[in-house]
């Protein structure tokens, strides 16, 4: 049951604010803010994905950029083939590109899920620092591959000339595209919420807290973690596909470890393991970039200082700061 706690009220406020901002932006004729809100929604979606692995499962993945990028490239590659009327491959059967978002999303989810299955099979055998470094290394591997593989633009990236289509919606209209991203975000939050309160979620959180006890009741922690890692990657991959459509451009930078770090920052600034933490975190990040980025080109320096202070002194992120510790009912 959803109770009217301080955190739930805050969550509702956060969601409402994010939803209302673009309409206000439209009313005062500042369409740029709609794009900012869309970026918040998409980054938050990537964070919601990571939060499932990191917050609930305690899996500190430093390689979620891999899935973000794969989702982005899935969108970019499918769209570029469709726009150039070239089949993606012809043997053993012909597969064509597409500009339908729904199909692109499905492919992005599948590709990131498969990649996560593969990466997870290796990396989840390890724990602690090894896990952090191996997820990082796998992401770097894909990053260097994307840079040195010339077929899809290599280092220069790949442009999508026209934003992809969604049935019944004009995606070129910024507000409509924002609403698509917002709906996807809310569905993902709902999915994570349902998962968290399911048997699976209980097992996942138990795996974070005490491996041995979980094994003792007959549940294999590895399978639980792997499932969480794959679902988490799928959500982040979907965010990557949306991000590609927002910018109409994908580049190997989506795979870089700075992206992994940023996705992690969204989760931390908001509050690890909080359902709406990534939304708050992404909003803070974008606001910060917007405000300080306007003042100085060295805004990353201040981001670093803020992040340092949050990590050292304000554990629990903004939501933790406002609502206090997580209550176990």
């Amino acid at each position: 049951m959803v109770k009217l706690t301080k955190e739930n009220s805050l969550n509702a406020l956060v969601a409402m604010t994010l939803l209302v901002v673009p309409f206000i932006a439209l009313a005062i004729d500042e369409p740029f803010y709609i794009t900012l809100a869309t970026r918040v929604a998409i980054f938050a979606l990537a964070g919601v994905g990571l939060n499932l692995a990191l917050g609930l499962g305690g899996l500190v993945s430093f390689g979620h950029a891999a899935f973000f990028g794969l989702g982005g490239y899935a969108a970019g590659i499918l769209a570029s083939h469709a726009l150039n009327y070239e089949p993606i491959f012809t043997v053993p059967f012909e597969v064509n590109g597409t500009t339908e978002m729904l199909i692109i999303w499905l492919v992005a989810i599948l590709v990131s899920g498969l990649a996560a299955l593969f990466i997870g099979l290796f990396s989840l055998r390890t724990t602690g620092v090894y896990f952090i470094m191996i997820t990082l290394a796998f992401a770097q591997m894909i990053y260097y591959f994307a840079i040195s593989w010339p077929a899809y633009g290599g280092e220069d990236g790949l442009s999508i000339y026209v934003r992809n289509k969604f049935p019944g919606v004009n995606t070129l209209d910024p507000l409509s595209f924002f609403l698509i991203a917002f709906c996807v975000l809310m569905l993902a939050v709902l999915l994570v919420f349902v998962l968290k309160n399911s048997r699976f979620g209980a097992a996942l959180q138990a795996a974070r807290q005490n491996d041995e006890r979980l094994s003792a009741v007959g549940i294999h922690p590895f399978n639980i973690r792997l499932t969480a890692f794959v679902v988490s990657a799928m959500i982040t991959g979907l965010a990557g596909a949306l991000y590609a459509d927002l910018n109409r451009f994908v580049s190997p930078n989506m795979f870089s470890w700075h992206t992994s770090g940023e996705i992690m920052i969204f989760v931390i600034l908001g509050g690890v393991g909080r359902m709406f933490g990534p939304i708050v975190g992404a909003a803070l990040f974008i606001l910060f970039e917007f405000v300080f980025g306007g003042l100085t080109e060295h805004w990353m320096l201040f981001l670093g200082l803020v992040l340092l202070v949050v990590v050292l002194f304000a554990r629990g992120g903004l939501i933790g700061f406002i609502t206090g510790k997580v209550r176990h009912e």
């Binding site: 390890t126 470094m133 191996i134 290394a137 796998f138 040195s148 670093g304 990590v311």
Partner: protein, 306 residues
């Protein structure tokens, strides 16, 4: 392919490996002794390179620059340890990753603020410039050869420091049981600062040496940092010996992969395609190596604690 070219590439791989060892040694020491994962190690490498380039350009002496790189990196390391890192030892790895990631942002943007975005140039010292004739009639860059020798000497020095000196005994004791050596009256906080500064000095030294053959610029430490992580994962986190073996393995596999794989694919492909497949695969080779090592040895080649 001539054997001279092959040997030259092999030496390049060795030189790269030695460089990686200087980075990886600090990382693995800091992890082994303090249990800390330090992403900001690449920033100290950058500090060393910038200090060397600035001092060398100002005084005209590369050697003064080299000394400055060690001093600057060790000082920066000690300050960072006292102000930030010290608070992280008892935290989980997530906090360590985030805080040191924040340090990277601060160091990179701070350096960009002071020095601008343009790379600085650092010339190879006159004493070591030009080629040298190796036995067998192979010409090789004297500077690169010097790096290999210096790296070997540093590895030897580290071995003696850790195996034979009192400080080394304390470091090893700190690795196995930190409460016990604190109880025996060793100032563990000072020891940690020393170890961190030592690692930083090695990183800064590496940065200065490499700065003379590459450009000195913001962000130069990050690719090296990630390779150094691969090195210590392969070698076994916390093990200096593992770092040495892992570094040379990674250096040689990476360099030889870039050299040999395109040629290998040319045997049965068109040139252009072979080059792209070969170089794409080469850029992934060390990560594949790491995955293979971890399948058979999940704790690396030389696990530090049993």
């Amino acid at each position: 392919m001539t054997s001279a070219l092959f040997i030259e590439q092999l030496l390049n791989g060795l030189q790269f490996g030695v460089m990686l060892f200087l980075m990886a040694a600090g990382l693995t020491l800091v992890f082994g002794v303090m249990g800390l994962i330090n992403l900001a190690h690449g920033a100290l490498y950058m500090v060393g390179a910038f200090a060397c380039a600035t001092v060398a350009n100002f005084t005209g002496s590369f050697w003064l620059g080299l000394a400055a790189s060690i001093v600057a990196a060790a000082t920066a390391g000690a300050i960072v340890e006292l102000v930030v890192i010290r608070r992280l030892y008892k935290r989980d790895h997530l906090d360590q990753v985030l805080a040191t990631f924040a340090l990277i942002l601060i160091f990179s943007e701070g350096t960009r603020w002071v020095f601008g975005s343009f790379p600085l140039y650092l010339n190879v010292p006159d004493l070591l410039s030009g080629p040298v004739m190796l036995p067998g009639g192979i010409q090789y860059s004297l500077y690169r050869l010097a790096i290999i020798v210096i790296g070997g000497l540093v590895a030897l020095g580290l071995y003696f420091l850790i195996a034979k000196t009192r400080l080394g005994i304390r470091i090893r004791a700190g690795e196995s049981d930190r409460e016990m050596i604190a109880a025996l009256g060793v100032d563990i906080r000072l020891l940690y600062t020393i170890v961190f500064a030592l690692g930083a000095a090695l990183a800064g030294f590496a940065g200065a040496l490499v700065g003379a053959i590459q450009s000195v610029q913001v962000g130069m430490g990050e690719p090296v940092l990630i390779l150094a992580f691969v090195v210590i994962v392969i070698g076994g986190i916390g093990s200096i010996k593992g770092a040495l073996v892992g570094a040379i393995l990674v250096g040689i596999v990476d360099t030889m992969g870039r050299f040999l794989l395109p040629m290998f694919f040319q045997l049965f492909m068109e040139n252009a395609q072979a080059n792209s497949v070969g170089s794409a695969l080469a850029s992934m080779s060390i990560y594949i190596l790491m995955a293979l090592v971890l399948i058979f040895k999940p704790k690396g080649l030389f696990p530090a604690h049993g």
